[in-house]
Symmetry: D2
Subunit: 349 residues, 4 copies
């Protein structure tokens, strides 16, 4: 088993070889670039992103990590007495050590379904917060793919956009795994639709083959006049912004952005099928690079040890749900090994 | 002239070849590392730093940039009604777009001398703020090397430590250019002294040959119990913390940390001499990799265009001070070209 | 009906005549008092509070309103990455327009029962937040009486104190209606017990006969060294602090604090009985000055109009819950009028 | 001497008898008022203020104290990366324990003259902060009367307004002692001019005869859409807002607002004359209710003890400047006693 790769998450490896090659080329050429993100690589990356997402007037800013990006964007969009409305499972609500609240804003949550906010519950919460003794919902935060690997449909996104329009909220999409969502089997959301429905969204690089980096995209320049100062104020402006620029330039060359996600999604899809075939209890509705399997505790423990899986939930009946994540660096053979190991554990029972 | 390198700053290049090589090795090996800075490389880097700075019980945390680090450390050390005491020219006061205030804390300033705080003025300000209608000074912030390239002497650091001890303040050293300070010709400060006088300091990587990265060092574990959560709360925890770990591991191998700074300081020293010899008005007291030259406006303009120098100050008499910065990537030949160009411009007059 | 008083809330009237008399005496005497709460009246009030709550080393600070007090105390007690743990119905969670989050801290909520936190759910949430990617629960916030008029028993308070002790949290009691809780029929909590279980609590004046004012009490001086500066930093320090001092001095003279609450509780108890006798659907478990009645919509509407009742909840079946609140200024006759009106409305059906 | 009143400050007394009478009338009438500032008294006070300041579309909000008001308004007007520009002696810079910074905003200071900002230095600072690595000046904060008793002239105010217009800043006037400024002998500023030049200003009640209270005035409704939620978010919304409403209603009845300030200013003017006649070194340029006198240390000490004067400054030559403050409650006789005492101390020398 020891030869197999781990399936802990999609941020265990450094970066895709093409990304490293781009960095190496620039280093070896002895490039000197303008600092603070005002360099040619960042500009080229922004151009590519504008093209891919159909936003000729879009404005692009490169930051370093997901929590930083969520906090920086949300604290920029909201007035002090406004709140972000999110799904209870939303990353900003449960896995950012209170960064959004740390910037002064409440996160209002709704139960959602499959990690996704339902338009009707968003609307109900907005109406409930009409009272001035409560925070004012200022934006809807969604992640696509969600924290549990599910993806929004085009009609779900349009319905949330409609709620935002009718009540004067922004729609902000956390795209830490946006590539996974856009290449999910059966998905009907295009990059252009993301560009159309979101006031602001970000394109995750950390979880899709970069050393690190997230690209924040504003639909146009009307909203982001002070955003560069805000980035600096939040400690999120890199002196060597071109390190991000070079990576995003590579990411949007030759379709690497999509290819890496398709690779990870494809492996996950295959693994999911073989797990189901072996009788495994694959839970949730993720069509992306995350797989959730519910197992007897000892089987779960074995897989956690051997494949670095994350324990996702311990159930009342003693069984456990573990998470399998594929990435750009996962390979067929390791998936096969993992699939067989699960099958073997299930047979033993 | 066109073949010469620019002297704009020390963060125009990607990174030292040894740093890139370390990243490449890890990538090519297909390494999978534990996330969030809990990896073996970060641990090895921390060990090396503990050894170099003589802090066997020191705790090390790797962050991404200077403003982020200053804000994260300062907002961790202070209570809400406390302030940082800094030199008016201090980076946190003038070039961080209010990041420290953005985290809720006033920066109290004193004029200082040569970019350095005088112990007696620090003490005077502390006493002045005894009134509960004023903020309470909670820490002294200094940068070494300072923003104008000067360095503290051992006795100056000990005197500030003494002020802190007598009044119950922390001493925090911004070491964005700490390597420059420690290798400055004529300097008498050792890494061990930094470890001894500072409650917390950081070791700059961005301005000393890394892609990015700053290593925060707490003297021991008594003060940093919640610091990892705080890092996350500020949006400063990288998922791929090992990207920083690998770089700092390389930085503290084979003395690369010191060698790069010696290289830059040495070139600056040589350039400074030839500029003075040519009759240039070299101002300030920097023994490190920054050189400040006061010139007629047209000469300044020429150098800004040709060598990418930063315009530092415009004087009442129309003359201008420009800044020359050397780095790990600067070379003898470019320095020679720049020196001759200045000499030529001065002769023309 | 027009002659009856309204039952909207317990902060519609100015203040008890004894309180006004104390203010008038000081004004007419032409008193000049030391500013910022360092006056003799504030000192006398603190002494009285220390006696009543059995805290000879207690430290008392007088603030102006409930939201201000909650935010000021909570942001003082917590580190930036820490959170307050509260009941979902807690005032800080739903009726303070995000003031606690505005000061940088998440409010973690549990469902609770009757507006009260159950020790076991508090403990479960604390354990759940052991992960450093989540906020750290730093204090348990409870209100007594709660937002729905219920009161904690002595054993419930001791159990929460025990949870706090075992996990290193503070226990903070919002006593906006503490007098109501301490004088509730059937209650077993004494002032001394409050002083014993809470690290910090506050004694509400606004909802118990003062013009305004809340007295924050720290069990002893070990925790509040910087609290006066913090009060000032939050904009909560009154120049004329003696206006609060005079009122709290009066409040703790001749048992006025208890007498007013007993009066309001007693009237509510009587009204509750007559409502039940008339067949009204009195809901909840409040033994204090709040009464909740579930009625047909038209009956509810009538009472809202005639008696200024607050609409508390609209139910799925079209019925509505209205809230009746008595105060120091309520009188027997008005209660009788209200009781008969409800009875009449119920008969009409 | 013991019979004389103290001259410590203008917030040592409770309130003017007319203000207390208004409160008593409402209490004795058993009034029940709508909470949270939505009552008839607050509305009547707002009407009166709109009339006096010539702002038919003005919006008025009643808060409780000066620091609270400054912090609440400034944090409402500014974006997170913006700063307030103030005189170094400005109240927000030196006597609010960092409340503005606590809300996330830097205070940029200029030396000013006589406690007043010079338009040219404001402009210079604004231009200096064009760099995105510095905070963006978002408003100019002035106090009128200033902290040292001086007052702005109409042309000075218009010049600052002009700077604001040309650079897109708000002008915010801290009117803690606005009545003193408007009634200063020789002053040429009218209430209408204040209404015309300021985007937002506040009218101080605490230092002009109220128990407490400051009235924030927005020129019109275009700017204050979310201000009530912001007030609540900052902990500054009183449940019994009508206590402020009744007081401000009284303050703007029968010209009490102006009469009290004229009284205090007049007594100060007379005292100033007699002090000068006696040879006292009256410093500064205050035409309002603050007088600054420079004296030998022992004389200063005597006056501090006997008249409660505040020690304002200790000079290098050992002499001390003390501050004398008159208020609505000061009387001729006490002023005469103080004047004679100073004369006596000077003769003794």
């Amino acid at each position: 088993m020891s030869g197999s790769r781990k399936f802990t998450n999609d941020y265990s490896e450094l970066c895709h070889p093409d990304v490293l090659a781009a960095l190496s080329r620039a280093a070896e050429a002895g490039e000197q670039n303008t600092a603070y993100g005002l360099d040619k690589h960042s500009a080229a990356a922004a151009d590519a992103i504008r093209r891919v997402f159909g936003l000729p007037d879009g404005e692009v800013f490169l930051l370093t990590g997901g929590t930083q990006t969520n906090m920086t964007v949300i604290s920029y969009l909201l007035r002090p007495y406004e709140a972000a409305l999110a799904c209870g499972t939303g990353h900003i609500n449960v896995h950012e050590t209170g960064a959004v609240e740390g910037s002064g804003h409440k996160v209002i949550t709704c139960p959602g379904r499959d990690g996704k906010i339902l338009p009707e519950e968003a609307e109900r919460l907005i109406l409930l917060h009409a009272d001035e003794h409560m925070v004012k919902p200022g934006l809807i935060y969604i992640s696509d793919a969600t924290e549990t690997g599910s993806v929004y449909t085009a009609s779900e996104l349009l319905a949330l956009r409609d709620v935002c329009d009718r009540h004067g909220l922004y729609l902000f999409i956390d795209g830490a795994r946006l590539a996974s969502a856009l290449t999910a089997p059966g998905g009907d959301v295009t990059p252009e639709l993301i560009g159309q429905v979101a006031d602001v969204f970000y394109i995750g690089g950390t979880k899709n083959g970069l050393l690190s980096g997230e690209a924040v995209v504003f639909r146009d320049g009307s909203l982001c006049g002070g955003f560069r100062r805000h980035i600096k104020n939040r400690g999120a402006m890199l002196a060597k912004g071109f390190v991000l620029g070079i990576q995003f330039e590579a990411l949007f060359s030759d379709g690497l952005f999509f290819r890496m996600a398709e690779h990870a999604n494809g492996l996950a899809e295959g693994l999911r099928k073989s797990l189901r075939k072996a009788g495994a209890d694959v839970t949730g509705s993720s069509p992306t690079n995350q797989i959730f399997v519910r197992l007897a505790a000892d089987a779960a423990e074995t897989l956690i040890t051997e494949f670095g899986l994350e324990r996702w939930e311990v159930h009342g009946d003693g069984r456990e749900t573990v998470r399998i994540v594929t990435s750009f660096a996962s390979d067929e053979e390791s998936c096969r090994v993992l699939g067989e190991r699960v099958a073997g554990l299930l047979r033993k029972k």
